[in-house]
């Protein structure tokens, strides 16, 4: 079994083992989960190392060596996995957050520990699945697998006030989004089948992305088709990004979830959408992407500015962070929309950085919320004095979120801005730069009101994170942020290598459109010369 499949199998297997473990031996349950997630972290790091030392070539080689395992032959489902630079970054992110989440949950979760970890690991497996599969069926499969455990995680272990509403909304919203994307995936699937049957009338259909891309490269997808398919895929996946105005599930979902739930949700789950867009929609429908992305760049502004201002009006710390996430995802959208190596790499890097940062933030909020049982900012205050360690970590997390250099977030946001400008989205880039100011406003306000100011007696009994186990997850995440923030080149090189071919495809489509319409492209990018087949005429 290849190491990629292991990433899915290990958490699932651990979840299966946990079913057999008696619910009373909580310690065993916790250790099983931590071990499993630790193994995935090891694999994640191993892949990262492979990407670092061998570059994209090593990843491609590794992917090529993995056979397609036929699953359901008649409809063309196969278990086939692969990595590129982009997914390596995401794998590392997920394994980090999963591991940290397990550690955080290790002491935070006291009720129904066994069920909790089963669901948590299933969620992790689902996310890994999305990041590695190259089969559209399993893409959707893993996507849903990642969404639904979230319902119970929020519902059972979330904060009692709004968990039912939040969990339901999140699950239904994301499922609806996934179904819209499914519509797009099926469009691709059947169009690909038509293409396959051109060569061989007896050909079976295939969900495999390589086949889809081959069809796309061959010009099997007409321009109109690509526009439709891309719109569907993007809308569907954008729900989970979450793109404005499809974001309303997200803040309340963050707010209601338990610490590790929020960590996974904000840290990883929200990245599935943008990842899937890059993984599927871009290479499959480059012309569609070229057509729609300018609009996305506009909507990204709504994300950044609107998200920021709504966050400013919040009184609940988790809502502040929740809306800040949706604001930050605006940068991801902008980076994706820029279709430049700089911008898209920045977007992926931001997905990584934001994932780690927000996991850290929610882990910390969860840590004090478990003791205060209040997220209402005016109730809190002066917590740094009872919990200096958590306070320090929170300051660091806030700084990372506010885009302070030294943290990976800064580098990635800078890349997005540069990329956006490179793509000719000058106005958007300036607004994005301004968004950083807004971010700082509400984050610093929240930080000050929660952790600083006069000590409050009602919180005197609160304890700081003690011992290596409570501190390890936070330290781990901070270190990651700092390391890649101080020296982002390793990460960006890995990501860049994965992003380049995808971007080249869409850029080629852009150039084609520009040639056809005779207009000079607004983008000032240096166009990589990659030959791509012209799109077929409208059928």
């Amino acid at each position: 079994m290849d190491a990629l499949t292991l990433l899915v199998v290990v958490p699932l297997l651990a979840a299966g083992l946990l079913v057999l473990v008696p619910a009373t031996s909580e310690k065993l349950v916790r250790w099983t989960a931590i071990t499993a997630s630790g193994i995935t972290l090891g694999i994640g790091l191993w892949f990262f190392r492979m990407a670092l030392t061998g570059g994209e070539a090593a990843l491609t080689e590794y992917t090529a060596a993995i056979p397609r395992r036929t699953w359901v032959e008649s409809v063309g489902i196969s278990w086939s996995v692969g990595v590129d630079g982009m997914s390596v970054a995401m794998l590392l992110l997920n394994s980090l957050v999963l591991f940290a989440g397990c550690l955080v949950s290790g002491h935070a979760i006291q009720d129904r520990v066994k069920e909790y970890f089963i669901l948590f690991l299933a969620l992790g497996a689902g996310v890994f699945g999305v990041f590695i599969v190259k089969d559209m069926f399993f893409l959707y499969f893993a996507f849903e697998l990642a969404v639904v455990p979230m319902y119970l995680l929020i519902g059972c272990w979330g904060s009692p006030k709004d968990r039912e509403y939040a969990a339901m909304k999140l699950t239904l919203y994301l499922t609806a989004g996934a179904l819209v994307a499914l519509f797009g995936l099926l469009l691709l699937y059947f169009e690909t089948w038509d293409w396959l049957r051109l060569a061989d009338p007896e050909a079976l259909p295939s969900f495999h992305l390589d086949d889809v891309f081959a069809a796309s490269d061959d010009g099997a997808f007409g321009v109109g088709f690509q526009k439709t398919a891309f719109a569907l895929l993007f809308l569907g996946f954008a729900t989970i990004i979450p793109m404005w105005p499809l974001h309303t599930w997200s803040p309340i979902g963050h707010a209601a979830a338990p610490a590790a739930g929020s960590m996974m949700h904000a840290g990883v789950l929200m990245k599935l959408g943008s990842f899937a867009v890059l993984r599927v929609a871009f290479p499959a429908c480059p012309e569609g992407a070229a057509y729609w992305l300018p609009w996305v760049a506009v909507i990204a502004m709504a994300n950044i500015i609107y998200g920021g201002y709504v966050a400013m009006a919040q009184k609940d710390i988790k809502f502040v962070i929740g809306f800040s996430s949706s604001s930050h995802m605006g940068y991801t959208l902008l980076g994706i929309a820029s279709v430049t190596v700089m911008g898209v790499s920045g977007a992926v890097f931001l997905m990584f950085a934001h994932g780690v940062m927000t996991a850290l933030t929610f882990g910390l909020i969860g840590f004090f919320y478990d003791q205060t049982h209040s997220r209402y900012i005016p109730d809190l205050g002066g917590l740094a004095q009872q919990m200096p360690f958590v306070g320090t970590c929170f300051v660091l997390a806030t700084m990372a979120s506010a885009g302070v250099p030294g943290f990976a977030n800064f580098a990635s946001e800078l890349m997005v801005m540069l990329g956006a400008w490179e793509a000719g989205y000058e106005v958007q880039a300036v607004i994005a730069v301004f968004g950083v100011v807004i971010t700082a406003v509400y984050l610093l306000r929240a930080l000050a009101d929660v952790f600083f100011r006069a000590r409050k007696e009602r919180w005197d009994k609160i304890k700081d994170a003690r011992g290596p186990f409570q501190r390890a997850p936070f330290v781990l995440l901070i270190l990651v942020l700092l390391v890649f923030g101080m020296y982002p080149k390793p990460m960006t090189d890995v990501i860049k290598a994965g992003v380049e071919p995808i971007v080249a495809k869409v850029q080629a489509a852009q150039d084609r459109i520009a040639r056809e319409t005779g207009e000079a492209p607004a983008s000032r990018r240096t166009a990589p010369e990659t030959p791509a087949a012209p799109a077929k005429e409208e059928r």
Binding site: W71, V72, V75, E115, A142, V148, A176, F183, L186, F190
Partner: protein
């Protein structure tokens, strides 16, 4: 003439007679033996389908009886259904004041009717076999004759059932009038003839037959009995009804689709018709389920909704669509029976079918909670559970036909709607605090059945090819179009 093909039916009927007679000798407190006998009979039926002479397929009774891949698959499913129904019936029947022997006898007779349904190859056998199932269920639904609800449910099912039987009959009459035969073999020859012209009479006949079968499958507009009857009937019977009876209806639908749908002309007429029904059924069932407070009633509406999804695959009417339908039906058997098993045993301790009484079930009884959760999620179509793959394949098959894409949109909308009400139940089980302190006592037999069901559901969800290897050849054997357009 090859009567050995009927071995499963023989076993079932013989077991029914045996149970009926054995009942006379058994003292009142030992009637549970009958359950064991019935379960053994089900296993025997299941085994009988693997006897080479049966498994090889063929026709009997001058072409009235046909064993092909689909028939075998369905027979196995019916055997499993009956087995699981008996598993959950045992304690339930022990609680009944009377008629235990008759209960098992009727169940076995209904099973035999279903087994025949899977194999019928002319309209006469179809009608009579179908009536065997229907009439058995009239009795079984009203079986708790002291309960007003049960009898009322029986009456309602009876009236709607008879009307639909009359419609079916009228449809058959039209088909007979248009073709001069009741044998499917003749129809196949007819529609495959190059000079075949579809007359309105024949079309109306086929449509009426589908509408009449809609009663069994709980498709709009013949679904009206479903919620009331599901609520009023004894719970194991509701389970049997929701799976066995429905699948019998669907296998007949598929059979008729196979017979007439091999002609493109007929298929072109049937597709919009089935799509319309599927859409109405989807919306009716799933929207109607939202405000329900009684779990059996909810499952009634859910059953209507599920019918809509199966119809989605039927409407697609090409090979993969039928394969998807069969897959869906297979998943549905395990899913729904797991859910109903839980319902039976929860009701034994709470004496209630209110959804609110499921509060805290996941904590109170993790096994029941897990089975119910997995079952409901499977119905909702969530990976990695078998139901998800079924739904995916059905939607995908319908999607393949551009004229059905609007129906796919309806299906997708209803995935979300259905997820809502299934999650509402799950919410109570997992999130709410228990209202009943009593822990349901679950015998080992049921535990095993539940665990096996869960393993099948999840294992099948992770490795759907295991199921697909059974459904795809069965669908391929029907000889429908291999490509969607």
């Amino acid at each position: 003439m090859n009567p050995i093909l009927l071995l499963p039916e023989f076993v079932a009927v013989a077991a029914a007679l045996g149970v009926m007679l054995y009942d006379l000798w058994l003292p009142k407190d030992r009637k549970a033996v009958l359950c064991t006998v019935s379960m053994v009979a089900c296993v025997a039926v299941f085994a009988a389908t693997f006897v080479p002479a049966v498994a090889d397929g063929g026709t009997a009774f001058g072409g009235s009886y046909l064993v092909d891949g689909m028939a075998l698959l369905l027979k196995r499913l019916f055997a499993i259904t009956a087995l699981l129904v008996f598993v959950m019936s045992r304690d339930y029947v022990e609680d009944l004041p009377r008629g235990r022997g008759e209960y098992y006898t009727l169940c076995l007779l209904a099973t035999s009717g279903m087994l025949i349904c899977a194999s019928v190859n002319d309209f006469m056998s179809l009608f009579v076999a179908l009536e065997v199932v229907t009439v058995s269920f009239f009795v079984l639904v009203a079986f708790k004759r002291d309960s007003t609800k049960s009898v009322e449910a029986g009456l309602k099912m009876l009236v709607i059932g008879s009307i639909s039987a009359a419609l079916l009959l009228y449809g058959i009459a039209f088909i007979y009038g248009a073709t001069g035969s009741v044998f499917f073999a003749d129809y196949r020859a007819l529609v495959e003839a190059p000079d075949f012209v579809l007359s309105t009479e024949l079309l109306v006949g086929i449509l009426l037959v589908f509408l009449g079968l809609g009663f069994k499958t709980s498709a709009v507009p013949m679904h009206v009995w479903v919620p009331d009857v599901y609520e009023g009937a004894p719970t194991p019977i509701t389970a049997f009804l929701s799976v066995g009876s429905k699948l019998a209806g669907f296998v007949l639908m598929l059979r008729i689709l196979e017979v007439f749908g091999r002609s493109g002309v007929v298929a072109d007429e049937l597709t919009p018709f089935l799509a319309l029904i599927a859409a109405l059924t989807l919306f009716y069932g799933n929207l109607g389920a939202i405000p329900q407070t009684n779990i059996k009633r909810l499952m009634g509406y859910s059953s209507i909704g599920q019918c809509g999804y199966i119809l989605l695959g039927v409407a697609a009417a090409w090979e993969t669509g039928i394969s998807a339908t069969l897959f869906y039906m297979t998943a549905y058997v395990f899913t729904n029976l797991a859910v109903f098993t839980v319902i039976v045993y929860v009701a034994r301790s709470t004496k209630s079918h209110e959804i609110d009484d499921y509060s805290g079930l996941a904590r109170r009884h993790p096994l029941l909670g897990a089975a119910m959760t997995i079952g409901l999620l499977s119905l909702a179509g969530v990976p990695p559970i078998l139901g998800f793959v079924g739904k995916f394949l059905a939607i995908g098959a319908a999607f393949a036909r551009p004229e059905l894409q609007w129906l796919v949109v309806c299906g997708l909308i209803n995935v979300v709607v259905s997820m809502y009400y299934y999650l509402c139940v799950i919410k109570r089980m997992w999130i709410k605090d228990a209202r009943h302190p009593a822990d349901p006592a679950v015998p080992r037999r049921v535990k095993i059945a539940l665990v096996v069901s869960m393993i099948v559901l999840i294992g099948g969800g992770l490795a759907p090819q295991l199921v697909e290897k059974m459904t795809a050849p069965a669908a391929a054997q029907l000889g429908l179009s291999k490509t969607p357009r």
